[in-house]
Amino acid sequence: MLEARTLTKTYQSGAQTLTVLRDVNFTIRDGEFVAIIGPSGSGKTTLLGLLAGLDIPSAGTVILDGADLAALNEDERARLRGEKVGFVFQSFQLIPTLTALENVQVPLELRGERSAAGRARDLLARVGLGERTHHYPVQLSGGEQQRVAIARAFSNSPKVLFADEPTGNLDAATGGLIVELLESLNREDGTTLVLVTHDPAIAGRARRVVRLRDGAVVSDAEAA
């Protein structure tokens, strides 16, 4: 489903070269729930960005559902994201000028789907926001915004969903609900779930945990 081959990412900072990821290799199977954990600065978010095709590796490649991301140009990667990938961010990243419903519709509409509004309404109902479809992000609480983001992430029935610290901006209780929501969608739709976190409790719910330190994988273990 998703394969990282000798992934390396370096940044040029003045005369210095900063290596953020070093020779990362792993494969994620269809329907898996994988947590990527590690301390701040270990390269978790960078890895997620590369896996999702949001960024270009300095070396190595990512194979997403059979497509070699390094071989695609920016717009081809965008199309691939629109069809197969969903995102949930720590800071929700809703478009502030769009209502909840419009936010959820965006990925569908970008693909030119006609029945976008109907499906978006269903999804919002599934995350418990059926009554708040016409609210703007400002008018929603953090937990509600993240639920809209999840509905949006699932709107295009993605093969794989990436979540970057999805509970980072939420209290423990709300965060727990969000993870449950992600888990249930993962179970029901068979979506592959890749979640970055530094919260061991959340990582504990994943079936597989990849641990990063200083840009390298230090352990990769299936949960018992």
Partner: protein, 850 residues
């Protein structure tokens, strides 16, 4: 925690670090307005002081006595008595004549000035070769305009024939103080010694000439007092007295008008810049919400925070104004080459400190006063914002209860009134200008509101997503629809108004129809000569375009009252001048292109009834001066014969065209018995052929004057070209400001747009899709803004053409559409440019930044 002012300023400096370059760009909107004002004010100051310094040499003496007829013995004795008291007097006689050069083809109508030794008493006439003015009186010499030598293919040393006099051309005139370069357009000037007038034989009893006596008073004389006394003494002899101070006043008034017109354009550019500042400050503080919230958490008071950002705005305003002053000075030095030909004096550009200081103060003031309102929004930023930052919107208070906000608005309005009043002539004009600016802004705001309203309702689900998304951006929260429409519409309004006005002026002066091709005119062709002149023209193979009969006459009686009675009666509104003057009238069957009927009806074929009075048509204004209405009888005195007529129409006449036009036009048959002279018009493309024909006619009939209109047409076209350059020059200022303001309005939401575009790309949008969304949004904004500006400009230019120049108005659709199209394109380009960065980077890199 209390920060001293100095520390606040230091903080403001550090805090502006990341956006300094961009803020400076916005502030340059102020620079351009300031530059326009500084350049215009400085140049006007230069011209005024040049006129003052040169006023005596502009006139040539301290005062001049001028008369349309030869000086009466009374005037002569006054001049003698002045001479007796130590004054120097030189007489100048000016008249028109045909000139030929021995051994060269061609003739030319020239303006002869016969001067007595001593003229000019002040200033100097420059000649080439130099110092030839001093030797003018030594022999039968003549100094001529360079254009005469060119026209007649002559050179210095040739012999010029004026009437019967033969004169040696000893040099050409380089610079005659008091004459603008265009003064020679209607005939080259020719200076001869007064002692040679008799030799020419051109001045006989009744000849048209102007007689002047130039007077230089002994040092220390009170010239104003002398001129006052002279005016009393000479009142009855139809002579006018003019002093150097009069000349200065007249010139200064002309300069003041030009100054005022250009100043208004500059002022509007500055106000447009003010709108740009407001928009830039709004964007700036929107980006600073985090910082403000953090400062609040750290205990900063509202006053301290406002001080910090006001200091930034003031600093940037000062920089903008300083830049504007520098640019203005550069422009000032460039202005003489643009409008110098209109000026009667040599203007040496020098720094005008008052204009520089005024520009600086106005610039900083406009920047601050426009920045104040958006700055006040900072007060509503809550420290909580630092903890929970979900909104990038500035919170808004309820403005109608917000006293500081209302005060800031009032200060803005009062400042506008003061700055406008300082530019305008009187309160009426001030209010007119403010109403025009306010009206234009109101229309634009209404257009923007209408657009939002329509956009909200028009979007259909069937439309492609990118189009829907683009249109929806127009009404979504935080949209920039209003500022963009304002900046764009106002810019388009200004530029289009300038252009349409210019196009109207030029159209008014440009030739059309039959007369367009006419470029040679023969005057004073007598009745028994006209057939022969016609045949000479035809023999040379040229078309006879028009043959216009001219009959001189005076008014003998209007209704039942005689001319003498009308003049004597001081109670009515009839103008004595209009009654007393000589009318050179004509007859014809049809209207010409340069006139149209205002009241009554044109002569019809069946209107010639037996025993009805012959019909006459009068020009509208002269009819008003005579106090006559349709149906009134007017009795004309045609060289002793009384011809009664009935007024059947009034006409509006465009006198600016080179066509023979008349105050009074008679129907055919009314004047056929009267002694008539003719004007014969022909059109010849080739300059040599024109000269040959003129020569041929003058050889046969020396009394016939001919005028080569082509050179006048050239001069007029050159002047129009200069006007066009001056207008474009001012339009450039408005355009540059408009573009900057537009840029700042677009940039105000750049942050939000970048964020939105990055998210869309993360969710699978291609660059093409995002580009199409932006294209839709900006194309709609651009189209509406430009279209509204265009509609406004029709009103604006109509008002200028109608009220200021009092001319008929016509649309210049082509130019307006081109300007609107250009503005729209500019909007789309700016919009797409602002999104350029999103396209260049990977979503990950951009996500980190937003």
């Amino acid at each position: 925690m209390s920060l001293a002012l100095r520390q606040l300023a230091a903080f403001a400096w550090r805090d502006s670090r990341s956006v300094r370059k961009r803020l400076a760009l916005f502030m340059s909107a102020i620079s351009i307005g300031v530059a326009a004002l500084v350049a215009i004010d400085s140049y006007a100051d230069n011209v005024t002081s040049a006129v003052h310094a040169q006023s005596r040499s502009l006139l040539g003496g301290d005062l001049v006595v001028r008369s349309r007829s030869a000086f009466t013995p009374a005037i002569d004795s006054v001049l003698d008595s002045l001479r007796g008291s130590g004054a120097r007097v030189a007489r100048i006689t000016s008249f028109a004549s045909m000139a030929v050069v021995r051994g060269r083809p061609g003739t030319r109508l020239v303006q002869v000035r016969a001067v007595e030794p001593g003229f000019p008493f002040y200033g100097a006439i420059d000649t080439r070769p130099p110092k030839r003015w001093a030797s003018l009186h030594q022999q039968a010499n003549v100094l001529v305009d360079p254009s005469l030598l060119v026209a007649l293919d002559a050179r210095v040393g040739d012999t010029l024939q004026l009437g019967f006099a033969l004169l040696t051309i000893t040099g050409v005139l380089e610079n005659v103080p008091g004459d603008a370069a265009i003064a020679s357009a209607f005939g080259p000037r020719v200076y001869i010694p007064a002692s040679r007038i008799d030799e020419t034989g051109l001045l006989v009893f009744g000849s048209r000439a102007e007689y002047e006596a130039m007077i230089a008073m002994p040092a220390g004389t009170d010239v104003e007092k002398v001129s006052k006394d002279l005016r009393v003494t000479l009142d009855s002899s139809r002579a006018r007295v003019r002093t150097a101070a009069d000349t200065e006043r007249a010139l200064t008034n002309g300069v003041a008008q030009l100054h005022q017109f250009l100043g208004i354009v500059g002022l509007v550019a500055l106000l447009l810049g003010g709108i740009g500042v407001a928009s830039a400050i709004h964007a700036y503080v929107s980006e600073k919400i985090d910082t403000v919230a953090i400062l609040r958490c750290l205990g900063a008071t509202t006053a301290q925070i406002i001080t910090i950002y006001a200091a930034t705005a003031a600093g940037m305003g000062l920089l903008g104004a300083l830049g504007g002053v520098a640019l203005g000075v550069l422009t000032q030095f460039a202005l003489p080459s643009v409008i110098g030909d209109f000026m009667p004096v040599d203007v040496q550009p020098t720094l005008a400190p008052s204009a520089l200081v005024a520009g600086l103060i106005t610039g900083v003031w406009v920047a601050l006063i426009f920045a104040l309102r958006p700055l006040l929004a900072i007060r509503h930023v809550s420290p909580l914002q630092a903890l929970r930052r979900t909104v990038s919107e500035l919170p808004r208070g309820r403005w109608w209860r917000d006293v500081p906000h209302l005060l800031a608005t009032a200060a803005l309005v009062v400042s506008l009134v003061i700055i406008t009043r300082a530019r305008a002539e009187d309160w009426e004009e001030t209010l007119g200008m403010l109403a025009a600016i306010g009206g234009a802004l109101l229309v634009l705001v209404l257009a923007a509101i209408a657009l939002t309203w329509v956009a909200r309702r028009v979007v259909r689900d069937e439309w492609p997503f990118v189009v829907r998304q683009g249109i929806s951006s127009l009404y979504r929260p935080g949209s920039q629809t209003r500022p963009i429409i304002l900046a764009l519409g106002f810019g388009a309004f200004l530029i289009s108004t300038l252009y349409v006005t210019q196009a109207n002026l030029i159209r008014h002066l440009t030739l059309s129809g039959e007369a367009t091709r006419a470029n040679v005119a023969f005057f004073d062709v007598q009745g028994d000569q006209v057939e022969r002149v016609d045949s000479i023209v035809r023999q040379h193979g040229h078309p006879l375009l028009q043959r216009v009969p001219i009959v001189p006459m005076r008014i003998a009686q209007i209704r039942e009252r005689t001319a003498a009675a009308l003049i004597a009666d001081t109670t009515d509104q009839v103008s004595a001048w209009a009654i007393r003057r000589e009318y050179r009238s004509s007859w014809r069957d049809t209207l010409v292109a340069s006139e149209r009927i205002i009241t009554g009806r044109w002569f019809t074929a069946d209107s010639v009834e037996k025993d009805a009075l012959p019909e006459v048509s009068l020009e509208r204004e002269i009819a008003g001066e005579l106090g006559v209405a349709i149906g009134d009888t007017i009795v004309w005195d045609v060289q002793g014969v009384r011809i009664p007529t009935r007024l059947t129409s009034t006409r509006e006449v465009n006198w600016a065209r080179f066509e023979p036009n008349f105050f009074a036009v008679f129907e055919r048959g009314a004047l056929e018995e009267a002694p008539t002279s003719y004007v014969v018009l022909t059109g010849i493309g080739d300059a040599t052929a024109r000269a040959r024909l003129q020569r041929a006619v003058v050889d046969v009939y020396p009394n016939v004057s001919s005028l080569d209109l082509a050179s006048i047409q050239d001069s007029v076209e050159r002047i129009l070209g200069k006007v066009a350059v001056a207008v474009r020059f001012m339009a450039l200022f408005s355009l540059a400001t408009g573009a900057l303001v537009l840029f700042s309005a677009v940039a105000a939401t750049r942050r939000r747009r970048v964020r939105e575009a990055v998210l869309l790309r993360t969710l699978g949008a291609t660059r093409a899709q995002i580009r199409r969304m932006m294209l839709t949004e900006y194309a709609v904004l651009g189209a509406l803004g430009a279209a509204t500006g265009m509609v406004l400009s029709v009103g604006g230019s109509w008002a200028i053409v109608h009220f200021m120049f009092e001319l008929p108005f016509a649309l210049a659709s082509g130019a307006s559409l081109a300007i609107a199209g250009g503005m729209m394109l500019l909007t789309v380009l700016l919009g797409l440019t602002s999104g350029r960065r999103v396209m260049a980077e990977t979503p990950m890199a951009a996500l980190r930044e937003v």
